[in-house]
Amino acid sequence: MNAALVSMVVPFFAAMLVLMWRPQQQSWLVIVASIVSLLAAMMALLSVIDSGPQSLNLGGWESPLAIRFQLMPVNALLIVTTAVIHLIVVCFAASSHHCQSIKQAFWPLALLLHGSLVALWLSMDLFNWYVTLELLGLAAVSLVTLAGHKALRAALDYLLLSLFASLTYLLGVVMLYGQYGTLDIALLATLTEADRVTQTALLLISAGLMLKAALWPLHLWLPAAHSSAPTPVSALLSALVVKAPLFILWLLWSRVAPSELAVPMGFWLALLGGGALMIGGWSACRTPHLKTLVAYSTVAQLGYGLLALGLLLHWQLNDLQAALWLFVVAHALAKTSMFLAAGEIQASTGKKRLNSLRGMTLTMPVALFAFAVAGGSLIGLPPSGGFIAKWLLIQPMLIEPAHWPWALLVIIATLLSAAYVFRVVSQGFRQSSVSATATEHGKSAQWLALLPAILVWLMALFSEPLLQLMDVFSA
């Protein structure tokens, strides 16, 4: 547990240090802080594997009074993922020539975002989650505004919707507290009954969280905010920030909600997930802009998470937990790669439109390769992290003939995601009318964009220990 706390505290302290002393070379300090945080996160994961879940009451108070932290395999994995992605994104921001203008303000905000995320993964307290969600929302909105005046509109929409979602969430939390007199997830799980107050509270909390996570049909703010943000920011937002509300949603419905409420709700959540897959995928196939395409692909891929969560609740099938969280981790890595590659390409051509990609195989082969490799995992090609997650999801669907329509849905979604990935890649192979300008396009930044895509394919090699980790948890 102490290692996890270190992983959370180091980014906070580094942010304050950067703000206070304002050294000339901030990037090294930030990279060192991210490395330390990553090492601590790995130690936390190892300790969970060794000695199982750990719990900590903050302030040493008894359980209903104190805020409780709990380290489980799932959130240990998420802490490591967060640290890995932050390290890669920070290195990318330091090495890319196109990120010079945002640097000064980017470092402290990114560090605060990192610390807040770890604080959210660790917490098991409904009100503390509200505070961490506020932190995430404010940090994310501030990061979006780094792109300058053109992003202000999207940032303001994001801020207002995020605040509205926070209030909805808070109202639900107040109702649960009023009814049961506790905010702790584990205690609530033993108390809840399927009455009207609980149902209303859970619906309010879910609506707030779904708005924050941009789950279909509450996703309308996401494409604008994520595509207008600076490249490293888009990667952080799409890979990590939208997953945080999903984590709370999962704990809430799988632990707190009584099964009389969870089973019918699961069906609706799964249906919404299906809607996200179809509409998100379709929009990604239609949009003329590169970064908007990647943002719509986030909407679609979040649908898999929602589908897994919904079916997990509807069929009361704990095996799907592994599918849900492997999806989240695989998508986080793949989407980081995609956004970094897309952003680097867009910044060097200076054009947003998809047809400006022509001839990219010659000028920026590594970036295009990174996009394609990451896309492979999003489609679910074997042997990638995305494939394992999809396999776990589709297995229980195939066993029972009554579940086949869901499998059909997943297959159509897969075809759609293949369509939008190839839409980008095929442009790269078209011959450019302009002769390829063989300028130096920031080689290291392109390789950094490729790194998470390679990691997501490596996940397949380590699928057995990963699945064991998840099994330990669900048992």
Partner: protein, 301 residues
């Protein structure tokens, strides 16, 4: 007695509701802001009537005071043409809101007679908390982690505002009355703010209320040109903005490393630790809120 109290409560409810509708419905944005400040004050009286003096103080200082000044400062930056509210009314939205309200109120009715088990638990633990006021004990001991993160929220709000690179507040030459009043008001805010902070350990008060009051004093002084503009380039400003959350975080780490555990204060020091944390948090809150209103001042001026 009971009848007169009921009449007062009914009047409060009526005024609150009509002010809320008026804030949305008036045409000129300026009137809307004034009504919003009035709404905050009535809301603060309502909290006091409900037996929550801490909330009443916070609402008066932050909700009505600082938020009102922030809205005014934003209004001053608006282009002249945008001084009218959007008067387009959607009956669909009105109907939807009313339906949602009815649904919520119906679901809330069973809550009226549910037990509040945590109150009893908190009262039992009060003896070990180092303070005698339950709200302070919850904010700075039982759930200190929430308060620490709230201080980071405030820091993020400031960083977010910095990104917008708003023009600094144009301050007209103060008229004589403001000048004269400022001389009396500023020391008073320090005295009352200090009292609220000190009082926080045993009664209603504490860092947020006191910080908001001190911020008001700073803003008055700035409007009178008594103090120079607040600039992020100044080390003292960055130091005072960061000291609250920073010290809190250091204490958290020290208690985890050397003591019993994360934010577990040693029993003999908890009273003084809580006071130091509140003191530094007050400074952070005051300077941050004042900066949010007056905005970044260029170092040259």
């Amino acid at each position: 007695m009971a009848a007169s109290e009921l009449i007062l409560d009914l009047i409060l409810c009526l005024v609150l509701l009509s002010l809320a509708v008026a804030v949305v419905e008036v045409k000129r944005l300026y009137d809307s802001i004034i009504l919003f400040i009035a709404f905050g004050l009535i809301l603060s009286i309502t909290w006091a009537r409900l037996g929550a003096p801490d909330l009443a103080l916070a609402e008066a200082a932050i909700g009505a005071g600082i938020t009102g000044v922030l809205l005014m400062a934003a209004y001053a930056n608006l282009a002249p043409k945008k001084h009218l509210q959007n008067s387009h009314r959607s009956w669909l939205a009105v109907g939807f809101s009313l339906a949602a309200m009815v649904w919520l109120v119906l679901s809330l009715i069973p809550l009226a007679d549910s037990p509040e088990s945590l109150v009893a638990v908190a009262e039992q633990a009060m003896a070990d908390s180092g303070v005698t006021h339950p709200v302070t004990a919850v904010l700075l001991n039982f759930r200190a982690w929430d308060t620490l993160l709230e201080l980071v929220v405030l820091l993020l709000a400031l960083l977010g505002m910095q990104q917008l690179r708003l023009p600094s507040l144009k301050i007209a030459y103060p008229w004589p009355l403001l000048n004269a009043w400022g001389r009396y008001l500023a020391p008073l805010t320090i005295v009352i703010g200090g009292y609220l902070l000190w009082r926080g350990s045993s009664g209603p008060g504490g860092a947020f209320q006191s910080g908001a009051l001190l911020a008001a004093g700073l803003i008055v002084l700035r409007l009178n040109h008594v103090i120079p503009g607040l600039s992020w380039q100044h080390a003292w400003l960055r130091c005072s903005v960061l000291c609250g959350a920073g010290f809190f975080l250091i204490i958290a780490c020290l208690t985890a490393w050397l003591g019993q555990g994360w934010l577990d204060y040693p029993a003999s020091y908890s009273a003084s630790l809580i006071f130091i944390i509140e003191f530094l948090a007050t400074i952070s809150i005051a300077v941050t809120l004042a900066w949010l209103v007056t905005g970044q001042q260029e170092a040259a001026s």
